[in-house]
Symmetry: C2
Subunit: 334 residues, 2 copies
DNA sequence: ACTTTTTTAGAAAACGCTTACAAATATTAA
DNA sequence: TTAATATTTGTAAGCGTTTTCTAAAAAAGT
């Protein structure tokens, strides 16, 4: 490719001058600047990211980490949708996105090492086992890090208001006359704990008793397991009148089971879930939509702030979602 | 970070020697090599990718391009699932994945420029408007490129056997007694053309007449539009007995419409679609599963071949899918 | 013991860029 | 006009690697 040197030669100036001209530095005459920029464009000049990075210690490259081993990874719409919005925001700020792995040169390594190798300016941890020592190491390094849906005290985080989400769902169902809830929740992560807090507190506030047997653990994004739990639930003597599922996607498992039993959601039984992915809207599922767009955007902004101003105060942002009123919660007569 | 120089000092050798030792070059004594490697590990040395790239012109970084403006982008399970498998393969071969954009430094640019800027070793074009001049420019540059589901003569490609896929679907439905087909297909891309070829040829071979009015154009991944087309179809005087939809996801739109009309798929009417995403399996949809795993893996292998051996012959691989027999195609009495 | 060959290590340049500092030129002040 | 100041350009070093070529040391042949 054509380099600074060639432009310098062609313009009869030094490479320093060319560099300054192309970077719009102030200590260069306007006429020269323009002449050089024009020439550079003509010659099809393109900056070499490696060379600049080597010199400036800035890569304008952000590492994105996810290690959702168990389930869907990228295929999880929640994740991909956050990533998409993160990427867009990064793009307009001049940053690129590279996936973090823990292999370097085909050899096993650690996340942190990989980040050092690539000299990422910062890192976003989006969907991960936040107790993984390798991730802890990364988070506690001096690299700027932002986490999504998990809070470490010392680094910026963007979280969804999971507690409020479940509160709203429960209150909505109560307002439509439901009293006997079941909650099939996801695996016991921080997110789940928050949701359960919302669930219990809303019930208590409304004076509703929760029988423990109606609280079942499943997994996020796991259609099979969710189907199984639903089957268990429906086999109980006193079937609840409203079931809350871990997420929209896993609800698809339940959908089948309900059909088998001849139950129509929104008529014979009420169901709600969480996420608000497109699929949910398509099938009219009542759910709580996470604002993945905001999550990605804000996370990216926070990270870039942290990168560009190391003294920036660590902030934890909470992003509100909204109830999507589908057709799966019946209006009961009182 | 600790650099070659510091290891050199600490070991009392030159940086050249350290470099050779760490790269397992032959012209270094085994004892020194081991001593240096040990020391490097102790000191927590990590290679600097920028420096190496600057010197060697190899970044071990692959650019991935998708520009699915209209619809889902990353959220498309077909895409994310290919990407996931591509990424895994790249990882084990020592390559990282970075998204290609057409902004550099926050300013509009072109895909090709961005690739030059980042010095990608190669590029994968996965989901894109393959007629976009910017993409053509990229593909016809001298960068190694692999395309997925689209073939340019002069660069390696991995494609799904779309023609065969539709043939199998049609033949399956025919074997179960269907004769009156409707096909709501996606927008007119190469993929769609291939699928239609499969559709028409299978019908012809089985001596089945296709009425043009039963062939409707919709979009991939567009629930709304698919619902609308389905509605149109169901309003026709002679409702077809088997409808083929663009893809599993958009079928969700049809699902609603069918329910409205009181039609149960697999009982009152038969439906099939394409992709074989998890969702389809969950709801028992008869579909043709694309082997996204193989698509991603093979694409990555081809690309790395092209990168590492510029003389490698250009190969186009076709990946077979398989029919997923769900519960949405009835068995008719003859 | 002396040459020849092989093995091992180092010196130095280069990759493309930025930047502190010095130098040259133009502008203004006195 | 001359000195002081402001503006513009250039010099050169350095970022962390790799690599070619040279040199020294060790091993092998005579």
């Amino acid at each position: 490719m054509v380099s600074l040197k060639e432009i310098a030669k062609s313009c009869g100036v030094s490479t320093a001058t060319v560099s300054k001209a192309l970077n719009n530095k102030e200590d260069i005459a306007k006429a020269t600047r323009e002449r050089i920029q024009k020439k550079a464009a003509e010659m099809g000049y393109m900056l070499d990211a490696s060379a600049r990075a080597l010199r400036t210690k800035r890569t304008y490259n952000i590492g994105v980490l996810y290690n959702d081993t168990k389930n869907a990874g990228l295929a999880h719409e929640y994740f991909s949708s956050i990533l998409e919005s993160f990427k867009k925001t990064a793009e307009t700020s001049g940053y690129d996105i590279t996936f973090i792995t823990h292999t370097i040169d085909g050899k096993e390594s650690t996340y942190l090492k990989h980040c050092e190798y690539r000299s990422f300016d910062g890192v976003a941890v989006i969907l991960a086992d936040f107790t993984d020592p390798e991730i802890l190491e990364l988070v506690h390094s001096d690299l700027p890090v932002v986490t999504i849906d998990y809070i470490y005290d010392d680094c910026p985080a963007v979280v969804s208001d999971n507690t409020r989400g479940l509160q709203e769902l429960v209150r909505y169902a109560i307002s439509r006359g439901h009293r006997r809830f079941a909650y099939i929740h996801g695996e016991m992560t921080e997110v789940t704990r928050n949701r359960m807090m919302g669930f219990y507190s809303a019930c208590r506030l409304e004076g509703i008793e929760i029988e423990e047997k109606y609280i079942l653990e499943s997994d996020y994004h796991d259609i099979e397991m969710c189907a199984e739990r639903t089957r268990e639930l429906l086999a109980m003597p006193n079937v609840p009148d409203c079931i809350i599922f871990p997420d929209d996607y896993s609800y698809l498992g339940a959908l089948q089971v309900l059909a088998e039993k001849g139950l129509t959601p929104g008529k014979d039984i009420s169901v709600m879930s969480y996420d608000g992915i497109q699929l949910a809207k398509a099938i009219g599922l009542t759910t709580y939509e996470q604002d993945t767009n905001a999550l990605g955007r804000i996370a990216c902004r926070r990270l870039i702030e942290a990168i560009e101003d190391p003294e920036a105060i660590v902030e934890h942002s909470v992003v509100m979602g909204k109830l999507i009123e589908g057709r799966t919660v019946t209006q009961k007569q009182v």
